[in-house]
Amino acid sequence: MSGANALAILPLLIVAGAAVVAMVAIAIHRSHIVTAGIALAGCAVAFGCIWIAAKQAPRQVASLLVIDAYALFYFGLILAAGIAFVVLAYDYLRTCESGRDEMYILMLVATLGAMVLAAGNHWVSLFLGLELLSVSLYGMIAYLHTRPLPIEAGIKYLVLASVSVAFLLFGIALLYTALGTMDLPRTAALLNSGAPYDRALVVPGLALVITGLGFKLGVAPFHLWTPDIYQGAPAPVAGYIATVSKGAIFAVLLRYFYATGAHGFTPIFVVFFIISLSSMIAGNVLALLQRNVKRMLAYSSIAHLGYMLVAFLAGGALGPAAVTFYLAAYFVTMLGALGVISALSTRGQELEILDDYRGLFWRRPAIAAVFTAMLFSLAGIPLTAGFIGKFYLIAAGASGALWTLVIALVVMSGIGLFYYLRVVIAMFSGANMSRASEPRIQIAPGAVLAVLMVLLFWLGVLPQALLRLVRAAVAGLV
């Protein structure tokens, strides 16, 4: 491996190294703060190394990975989310049991997986990245393994993820059978060259790949696991799943499907169309009467991925940029929302029932304001990142003339308001000035939430900088 390659994948190396270092550190001496520090430093340094890697970009590394602007952009997102996660998880686990340190190793491995996904340029790297992510997530979800719900969530996620990966593998096998290569550029070249290929195998193979990816994204009809896992997993982990896991998979979706132009194949288009439409409907409808806030956020994430698929399908000049921007906004928002839940939990007891939030604004105005902002962003209200994101999605949909989906997006996100506002209403209801039962927000998660909130508004009002980045990132995709 040449030095240039090493530099290019420096962020990956650092994250992997941090995992190992963390394990060694644990072996020497268990200290929560040290392990968390190592993870934080790992993510932060890796984040910093993005700029070093950027000097090498675009660069194909050892046939499996490609380091280009697109991958680096997602590295940035993933690592930033990782940093936020570490802080939130540190606060979350602080009051919990001993044996808190493994979380960070798992998280680093998962982050590595997500980065591999973002940089993957080969069907095998897709599979491996997915597995890295999944296996670590099993552990993270069921982390509080002395309680029933996390275990239940872990089991469900494990079995379903395995089944879906099996589908994915079978799909890749079909593609390989048809094309004789698992390399993405070559696959793309074959599919785009106009040379004859075995379409009867390729398209079903892609359909199976969609199953695998669709499961991870939690889009209908593969969405059923989402609420259970969000509910069972610790809040920071739920945030991690909602953002890093789904974001990385979406990165894959964009790169692999745009490269091959597969989203334009009629059957594939129809499949995504159905997925998008049914996700928007199912997610929003399911969330309507949900009284558990974490489950509600899970359903809403189903819907949001449905929205993103609209722009994904629209393609064109706007599609990938819209999706990528939306993802960034979604990272901020979802981390913020679940971060609030995380920051409000003590000893693993989370504030998840709607009634718990009644009058929160009067007791803890700051945190309630953050949560409100996050919910408004999810709802796509101006001044928040979600607004620009949704604007971009609709713009992409409109430019692609996907009117059915755009109208569905509009109507469904209107209906979606209902459940976001319900939480807001609860927080602002009743002038119950009684002493807060919620814990005082610690400085670290408070800072993270503050940063997220600033980002939320910054992206909502002055998105130019991020837009420029996003456009540069996706420029090489199509």
Partner: protein, 499 residues
């Protein structure tokens, strides 16, 4: 920069109110009042000077061709004046009504006003949509936090309706944006540039419908009105006056719908007019059957805004002028009644008409002003609403005699519900033995100002009409230009014809 100042003052006032509440709740009322009055003063100054403010145009999100572009003309000016006036009255009316988290309240109130002002000033479609949506949130809070018992659902209903309508409008805006790009190769949301974008008839109709729904929800046109009664009933007075200001919907139609889609607006006009007329009658009928003061008013507004919708789509000078005068007058007359309802609610903690009655003896001044506003509402000549309604009718007659006749019948219905309101609240026996204070000077000032302006509008509306006249004429010219262009244009789009 004067125009940006309007928004900055409100925004700064909102922040200051929030901060001031920390140490003295009373201070934020004064801050809010000062901010609104400052804006009102600026607008009055501009009006007296006869315009002449420079437009503001700053690049905002360059990637999309989005500009921060503010401009003012007669239409914007009048509605801004109304907005700030109602805003000031809202502050006055909330003086005692709001006791809980006063700072946050005034913050929301000022932000609402900023949103509305943004809507009236924006000349960039994105900025307009941004302000349009932004206006929702603080209003939502005003209702959801300071409303009555069922405030939660009402606030959500309000938000849902407006948001869905708004999003449909966004889709329409974007379609226009892309079509404009296809035509010219320029990505821009700028209003002047988008004017005159050549559209295929079917496309124009669809896009126009998107705008129409967005505005019609806010107006509200019949069929899309069902959020209004709940919202008005539950909202605090300040939100009744500002956040739930229906003029923005009508403004949108005048500013965007007619100029951008003249041909579609023309072919759609019969439908819109029918909706307007039906709204007049249906709203009046429902207003009559309501038992709640504010709910009755809400349906009364539906009826009134039916006139406005009718006037807008009739589109001749008379009707447009009528629609504008009626917009302002209805803001004041219905607004005045909301102030009355608010005062009553603050004193007797209900707006249920069955719980009122015979209040005249106890509070003659309040009752008298209530009567006067109700008379304005039913279109008594000499008060503002009459001028508007009559002009609309006069204009409508040119387009459609049946529409004018049915709309005129709305006058009978208005008399029925307005008088029912007056008699149920102020006349009859005082069964519950209410004894409470009449209008205090602060409230009297607010009510008196509204009465005076209504009278002025009723007896000498010429300044308003003259201010709006250039805009109305421009609108008509645009219509005629577009329509003559339609006849002159060959069926093939010009792009191909040129080659």
């Amino acid at each position: 920069m004067m125009l940006a100042c309007l928004l900055i003052i409100l925004g700064a006032g909102a922040l200051a109110a929030m901060v001031a509440a920390r140490w003295r709740p009373a201070a934020c009322r004064s801050i809010a009042l000062a901010a609104v009055l400052a804006d009102l003063g600026i607008m009055l100054g501009i009006w007296v000077r006869g315009g002449g403010t420079r437009a503001v145009d700053l690049a905002w999100i360059g990637q999309f061709g989005i500009h921060f572009r503010l401009e003012i003309d007669g239409l914007s000016l009048l509605l801004l004046l109304l907005t700030f006036l109602l805003g000031a009255i809202a502050v006055l009316a909330s003086w005692r009504e709001i006791t809980r988290s006063v700072g946050f309240f005034h913050c929301n109130l000022l932000l609402t006003l900023a949103g509305i002002a943004g809507v009236f000033l924006a000349r960039d479609l994105f900025l307009f949509y941004f302000a349009w949506e932004l206006m929702l949130v603080p209003t939502y809070f005003l209702i959801a936090v300071w409303g009555q018992q069922k405030r939660g659902p009402a606030a959500v209903k309000y938000f849902l309706f407006t948001q869905i309508g708004g999003l449909l409008m966004l889709v329409a805006i974007l379609s226009l944006y892309f079509i404009h790009h296809r035509e010219t190769g320029v990505y821009t949301f700028s209003y002047p540039e988008l004017l005159g974008t050549a559209l295929a008839p079917a496309t124009e109709m669809w896009i126009m419908l998107g705008f129409f729904i967005g505005f019609a929800v806010k107006l509200p046109a019949l069929g899309l009105h069902s959020w209004l009664p709940d919202a008005q009933m539950e909202a605090p007075t300040a939100a009744n006056l500002t956040g739930l200001m229906l003029e923005v919907g009508a403004y949108g139609m005048l500013r965007f719908l007619l100029p951008l889609f003249p041909r579609a607006a023309r072919s759609f006009a019969p439908v819109a007019m029918a909706v307007g007329v039906a709204g007049i009658l249906y709203g009046a009928m429902l207003a009559f059957s309501q038992n709640d003061f504010k709910r009755l008013l809400a349906y009364g507004s539906v009826s009134h805004l039916g006139f406005v919708l009718l006037g807008i789509f009739v589109k001749n000078n008379l009707a447009l002028q009528g629609a504008l005068v009626l917009m302002i007058a209805q803001g004041l007359s219905v607004g005045g009644l909301f102030v009355v309802a608010g005062v009553l609610r603050e004193r007797i903690e209900t707006s249920d008409l069955a719980r009122m009655g015979g209040l005249w003896t106890t509070v003659p001044r309040l009752s008298g002003s209530g009567l006067l506003f109700a008379l304005a509402l039913l279109g008594l000549p000499g008060l503002g609403d009459f001028v508007g309604e009559f002009l609309v009718l006069l204009g409508t007659w040119q387009r459609s005699i049946p529409a004018a006749v049915f709309a005129a019948l709305g006058g009978i219905a208005a008399a029925i519900y307005a008088l029912r309101l007056v008699q149920a609240a102020f006349h009859g026996p005082n069964e519950y033995n209410w004894r409470f204070a009449d209008l205090v000077p602060r409230e009297g000032l607010a009510v008196g100002a509204m009465v005076a302006i209504l009278l002025w509008l009723g007896l000498y509306p010429q300044p308003v009409i003259a201010t709006f006249q250039p805009v109305a004429r421009a609108l008509q010219n645009m219509q005629t230009a577009a329509l003559s262009g339609l006849q002159a244009k060959p069926p093939v789009p010009p792009r191909f014809a040129r080659r």
